[in-house]
């Protein structure tokens, strides 16, 4: 009796020649979707959570202000004093008239510093702000 299984002679191969192409696509997606962090954040902060939040559509317009747990204020890549914000923001507004200021404020902060920043922003006429917050789970 013949126990030998019948096998076809043809080679069995999964075509992998287009694998690099697929992976290149993935790679490209990630490269495009990535925004490498340009600034180092020197302050410690934890954002508050909220429900009715919206996405900021145009990332180019955003300018960030961080306020840390210690009450320090960081604008762009420096820790700044409250009084300096006005000049910097005013210059920024001249360059970019509809700049949005994203306020990344630690949730344990006091409102005093927030109102102060808001008053300074009003003087610099950068009126569009965004209280950065995470989506409540």
């Amino acid at each position: 009796m013949n126990f030998k299984k019948k096998r076809s002679n043809s080679k069995q191969e999964i075509p992998t020649s287009s694998m690099p192409d697929i992976i290149f696509m993935l790679l490209l997606f990630f490269m495009v979707a990535t925004t490498l962090r340009e600034v180092d954040v020197y302050v410690k902060y934890k954002l508050p959570e909220a429900e009715a939040i919206e996405k900021i559509e145009n990332k180019r317009l955003i300018s960030y202000i961080w306020v840390g747990r210690s009450g320090k204020i960081q604008l762009n890549d420096n820790i700044v004093a409250l009084e300096d914000i006005q000049d910097i923001m005013y210059k920024k507004r001249v360059e970019l008239p509809n700049v949005i200021v994203s306020l990344r404020i630690d949730k344990e902060s006091e409102m005093g510093v927030v109102t102060d920043i808001q008053q300074v922003l009003r003087k610099a006429s950068t009126l569009r702000i965004n209280y950065s917050s995470m989506l409540k789970q």
């Binding site: 993935l26 919206e54 994203s102 006091e110 008053q119 917050s133």
Partner: protein
């Protein structure tokens, strides 16, 4: 006669088997180094700065004040309220003013102490914004039969700007000596 050997047909090939490995490495690098920043938050517009403030009389009918003190107590029009209830409370008031002209719409004014916790302020503001968005959504459902996201730009403008505009006023902080 010398036999002329026929040259064997050698296939010239660039070895590309390792290509996918290299690309995988690149991919991994990007995966690891990526932080997809989420820029989400509550958008607001600050009022313009004016040296001299004008006081515009506003009828009590259209004004709702939300006060938060440093201990975290919240007052809505003078009555103590818990933060999660603000939205429910406001909704009826907003709905009742949908058909009124724009100078009679509801204004929500939020005011805090300098020592108030920022998180509380955001929670309260969130509730106010939530109330407005929910009213906008239900209005759009009732009137157009579809959600706010599916409206045409023109319909959306009518809902957001004319019928249910979000008017939130961040009260001028009081001078503290």
């Amino acid at each position: 006669m010398v036999q002329i050997k026929k040259k064997k047909d050698l296939e010239a090939k660039i070895p590309d088997a390792g290509m996918s490995d290299i690309v995988f490495l690149l991919l991994l690098f990007f995966l690891v180094s990526t932080t997809i920043d989420v820029d989400t938050g509550i958008g607001m517009s600050l009022p313009e700065f004016q040296e001299e403030q004008e006081f515009v009389p506003i009828s009590k009918e259209r004004l709702v004040t939300v006060n938060i003190n440093k201990n975290g107590d919240v007052l809505l029009n003078g009555d103590v309220i818990a933060i999660p209830q603000i939205s429910e409370n406001l909704k009826d008031r907003i709905v009742s003013k949908i058909e009124l002209p724009s100078n009679k719409k509801l204004i929500v004014s939020i005011k805090t102490d300098r020592r108030t916790n920022y998180n509380l302020y955001i929670q309260a503001l969130d509730q106010i914004v939530l109330a407005y968005s929910e009213v906008q959504e239900t209005y759009s459902q009732q009137f157009y039969g579809k959600g706010l996201a599916d409206l045409t730009p023109e319909e959306k403008r009518v809902v957001i700007k004319e019928k249910v505009p979000k008017i939130i006023s961040i009260a001028e902080p009081e001078k503290i000596n």
